[in-house]
Symmetry: D4
Subunit: 251 residues, 8 copies
């Protein structure tokens, strides 16, 4: 569209050829030196901007968040954020009147207001064990920050089927299910066989020995004999929450 | 609901305790000796039944198809079907007036009529190279058999970005994109960065040497730096088509 | 005991020191040149002798079987036996009045009479899919050849839980369960959570892509979150049947 | 059985349809928020409840133990329990008059009285080296907590066969043998060739370099040329002790 | 050449046979006990000597640097140098009037003057993310220390193609491009498709889960569907900078 | 440039806005249905077009070659070409007066005239053993087809250093060296230590057992202790030849 | 020595500088085009020349053998030789009066006379099973061709210790033991614990499933808890025989 | 021999049958509770006893050493010994007049006197780099403690061949060479091609990225194209020193 308008201006003589060439090259981002935040992305991809906190200093995170906010972003999600960085960012944002919350288990920080849930229905986040909770909360909070209603069903591993089956009703009513498990990762297949909706499977690095840091669960989930299951990276709660939100907002 | 009705009948004396116990145990399938087809699944999971053809004899496939048809299934998808099995099943079904079609590249057989496309929008199937076509057609035909409009964009690998970018419009209008690539599997990330809809990534075993039968593409796709990408098993075109159809039929 | 008797004879002067040294060194087997069958093993380990057919010529198999029979073995189990070898051995043994049967799917041959089942109870052999049947039959026939009652429950993969649950009664009554599955191998965990008896898990090489020839199922089963599950090698139906028989004959 | 009684009550008018529906849905567990302990499991699976201590806070462990105790569980086994958690739980339970013991090498905690040994015979726990002792004690204490007589034979690796052979008598009299080894894991095969009873093999992460954190021993044990050997996860002493106990209590 | 001169001297009687034999054996290095620096290498391989700092003490590094300097080397590059070692070496060299600089992110130390850039053109160093900067700086500083003009283009991962494409001009004008990325490593293929010059790809260990410490990016880059891409070890910024410099100095 | 001209025409009223939008979208390739050849690539990337023959039918190869030729390409390289495809393509091209040659060991086909060597100097192709020759010839013929002088030095593995050292002069005079080896792949390091020019290392799948289809050589080469070595995929002779040619044509 | 003589001749004026330079460069081998046989190697490495038959044509093998023979080699060992090549070479050599023998199981061919055994003592070749015989014979015949007395002890796997122990005397008297086993490869450790001499362990690809083509046995042997064990490549009988011969000929 | 004497005593009536049975069972070791030292091993395997220090407490090490010394062992080698344990053991032994020395780089402790070198010749210990020294010293000190003359040649990696070749004379005169290298491990092949004696190759975990903790060097060495090379575990300097000593003491 912009291209068309630009051309119309060129045709009308309002914009010179030189300016148009320049305009076509001008990039929708500003260079902070260490990262190139993309202020148009909220429009281009439709949802809140996300910062991957791992390997970024607290100062870098703060600056990127502020730049986003200044460019009109209503909320920013920060994943894998360390406690100290959260404290630092929280103070800085509060000074400027921007709300900020941090959940230490999942290491998720959210700047700005969490939006109203406006998806098609509920996203169910299911885990095999208690130890999968950090990943599960990363998924759940991501989905909530992107405007979804989330229902949490934790510690319902397949070795005690009745625990899972007692939630069958809730699972079957969800629009998307996020199935999170370590060790043998069988939860994805069992859930995949129960529900009619898409299942996003998240292998976790929970386990020891031949769990090989999540490899066992990853392979299990990729080989699921249930249809309608796709997989994200080991411990990638964010990725699952994001994908689930995309699906839950389809129109 | 059925349980409630059953209990009401027990309470009303219309059904004896013995009969009720039996009823609660009666299974929604019939035992053919070598497999337990599940006639209720079309209802429970909402779509056509699928037979994984690998490792089944042509006679077994024929019998399962017929059982499904007798139980009211309108169409049956057979994946990984050998040419000979297709010929055998085709003859048997034609004798009974049931249409059957077979596509040799993808080894997909479809018994019964392909339904009208009734999804939310189009599913785009994109491949990195020509050699990914068998997997791509498995995905595309699966999606079509499950009632979806499919647009095919083949051989648009990332080493020649302009080939992919010339289809940007089509990609951005799709409700779901299936990104299929072997070798380094970078297509998923690039497509994932372009579109706003969910991307189902399918690594293929195309390549040699350090492609390690699809492992390279699989790892690439699992580690995609683009959000909104989830992954199915290597060469699992069916799984991607099925997942995409689930998403495209969400309501 | 023999050592004590030997020493008593030495003390009594009935056996010379030289003879005793020799006797202590005499081995309970005879050298056929290509293998050292162990005729005492039936006594030492309590059950029928087994020949691993892979990589042995039909003539070698025949000779080892005959040696066993001549040494008083009542039945001999041959695993991974090729059709041609079975035909050859069958003819040779029939000439000598020894019964021989061969089951081609599992490639199991049994020379001599199958003994009466004399175990503590039933062994249940359960599979995730139809394609796991060759391994399952290897397990089942092994167990039967070793004197066990076997009940077969095939194609009850976890993606359709109701199929498995309809056999819950049978499973719960078994003394040992052999759970056999490829792909994600989740069957072992689900069965392990249902039953009170030991579960022997057998990963199979069924699957493709990230199933990595059975590695996925193997890792899954080793990481089972259910207690009471132990694992044998990929496709090792024999090993599972043998182990189950040992357990079922404990006293 | 309960279902039948319930239905009889429905038929007799003693229980309303609504109540019966509710009853059929009521789950045999209580929700603590972070975990769903299963009080019926002692009955369903026949032995003491076990808590996997890894990744649980001391407060969580304490609460689950107490809930179990309140629901009639006589003893509770906690595996992979940290020293501090043990101290905390010990104090809390002692206050309530419940005995608690902790063994730091194996990190096993046991709440309640250790039951009398009531198995069929002895379980022998054998290790290749001194460094395998933590895993061995986890196995031994688990078996003891589940009512078994255990005999320990440590540091009898196959590089000094005479050390192992001097215990041959004890090994041959055991009902189950647990063979624990790291490095090349050859112990399982050698022990498997000596005894007539089931052998549960436990690979350990003892070793360096190409031991690859237990992978070498794991593969060795899975490929054991001795029959009657099955394998649990690397360092999974608990799993082996549990499995051995199941076998030793078969009837 | 030296050999020829030596022989001429032997022929002329200026050098005895014994001396010539000795001379032919005399090595172009001096033994420091812990390492054998090679003072001729600057001539033999054409560029500055490099010390791999990992696993060397600060005293060892200092001594090797000094030996090089004494033997006429104008600058010495030290890679993977710890902060403390840098401080120590800096003090010692400053005492002797030798300039020394240290860049902590890349852990690169440079003794002596950085030479004028005398290559054919520019080397572009491109990264997928901010976290790849330590590796990128190792590459860039190495190239600069070896006499190259370097242009840095960071955080232009393929999930936001416009960020990369806005630098297309710069990339296309470079003589060599070093493409550095972790996770899925797709940057190498996309860059490889854009430029006409050689691309040196550096996989980094950035990422988590199935990134497997850089394995995913490594495999991706090895399987690049773009021609003109070759790969160095994971995180080997130095190797890429060195290789790029060799290419940029070809004549 | 084209964009500027287009804009000038828009400004001049010679081209309508609609046409300009269309033009900006028009792609520099033509759709053959199964592949999207890129006729501008010879210009954009500077060298002859290459067809990866694996997985393409002979008819597909023929058509792509012809399209290239029709679009002004002077020569086309086809890699991994089967003998039958070569025969078919040869006949078809000969009918149209286009020269075609095929080398069966390397499975390289070349349509059109091989250009004059116009590189900076020689490319040396070195192999460890005789069995590496197919890969070496793929590299050598690729380089020749792209306009390079190639010198072949085969079977000079490091276990007989004198064989390699006798070619030291030739190696040291080359502008680029391609070092090709299977098994332990040590050739790359030894050559890398000898020469001052860039070394492209190609691991081959030659070997057995722990060579793991080229993995051993690949890892060796990636870990080369010699500077100035970069690596391409296992058996990727083409990739090495292409990269070497790029370097040899730098200006 | 030659160098000294050469220099003396240069000093004496008998050899010109030019000639001497040339002489220093002249290589002790002749170029056959496809391979560079090394006629001095018998002297340099002390034993018969060996041809690795894999991937060489029968004509190539024949020519290399003849060249060796013409250069004074008394016998030549060819490993991994195909039956047809053996037939071809046998005919050609017989025509020239050179004895040739071929053993099909191990695929070893020997041209020339097998030398008298002149080692320090016996080499014992021990295998775990019958299927390891091809590798064992490759080891045994190699050792015999290199002048060693070999004693074969086959099928004495560790699952039946008495079979191995009955050969303890022979094993303890050997100068070197070659321990060959697939599957779990435990034989190396048990033998290593029994004998005082060096043990060369050869893992074989015998086995299935988690044997992973010999990986399991390889890792086992590398991790042997017995001292005095070193390992060669999977299925590398030749390597073990050669190494054992070197040891057995030490002086 | 002992058995024969025992039997003679039984025959002579000097030893009762009961005593003889007991004697045959009495083991040549004493039970310390945590380990079973084997006092006869020095005789059975011919050299000093070795304690693997990893995972043993300082008190355990002290007690085992003392027991050995009390049983007549003249020296005891302790590998992987921590500094603190060395200090503790040193004090205790000094109190009892037993010499003890500890070398911190290799973590080797030696109790008792180091014996005179009495082997056939020298053992050469060669390393690729400075960082391989800890492993090299473990090998060298082990060999010295077992009565061997050792010559150390460190930091002669193949990237600078002249460094290695300048030691060719020393290498060629050794009876055994221990070649130690990390990264690409090429040293073993190059050394193996130079010398006529057995080469024991030790891969080290030196390196980063695709060195994969020594896997790269391990695979390289197993695939060595040089004959006469066998391999021990990653970083297993002790194993190499022990093996080399066995070879150097053959008679």
């Amino acid at each position: 569209m912009n291209v068309r308008k630009l051309l119309e201006n060129v045709a009308a003589g309002n914009v010179s050829v030189e300016q148009a060439v320049l305009e076509l090259k001008k990039e929708p981002f500003e260079d902070l030196g260490f990262a190139k935040p993309d202020y148009h992305r909220a429009i281009r991809q439709g949802i809140a901007e996300v910062i991957y906190g791992e390997g970024k200093t607290q100062k870098q995170i703060k600056e990127i968040v502020e730049k986003f906010m200044e460019n009109g972003q209503k909320n920013v999600l920060i994943t894998r954020m360390k406690k100290e960085a959260a404290k630092f960012v929280s103070e800085k944002l509060t000074d400027r009147g921007i709300p900020f919350q941090y959940e230490p288990l999942s290491r998720i920080g959210i700047a700005g207001e969490i939006p109203e849930a406006d998806g098609l229905g509920e996203i169910a986040v299911v885990t095999g064990g208690t130890s999968d909770m950090p990943v599960a909360e990363e998924a759940a909070l991501t989905a909530e920050a992107l405007g979804n209603q989330v229902v949490r069903i934790y510690d319902v591993g397949v070795a005690g089927l009745h625990r899972l089956l007692s939630h069958a009703q809730t699972l079957m009513e969800a629009k998307v299910v996020i199935a999170i498990a370590g060790m043998e990762g069988a939860l994805a297949s069992v859930v995949g066989g129960l529900v009619e909706c898409p299942v996003i499977a998240v292998p976790t690095s929970v386990g020891y020995g031949a769990a090989f840091e999540g490899l066992s669960a990853l392979l299990s989930m990729l080989n699921s004999c249930a249809s309608g299951v796709s997989v994200v990276n080991i411990d990638n709660g964010f990725g699952a929450g994001y994908m689930a939100s995309l699906i839950n907002h389809i129109s």
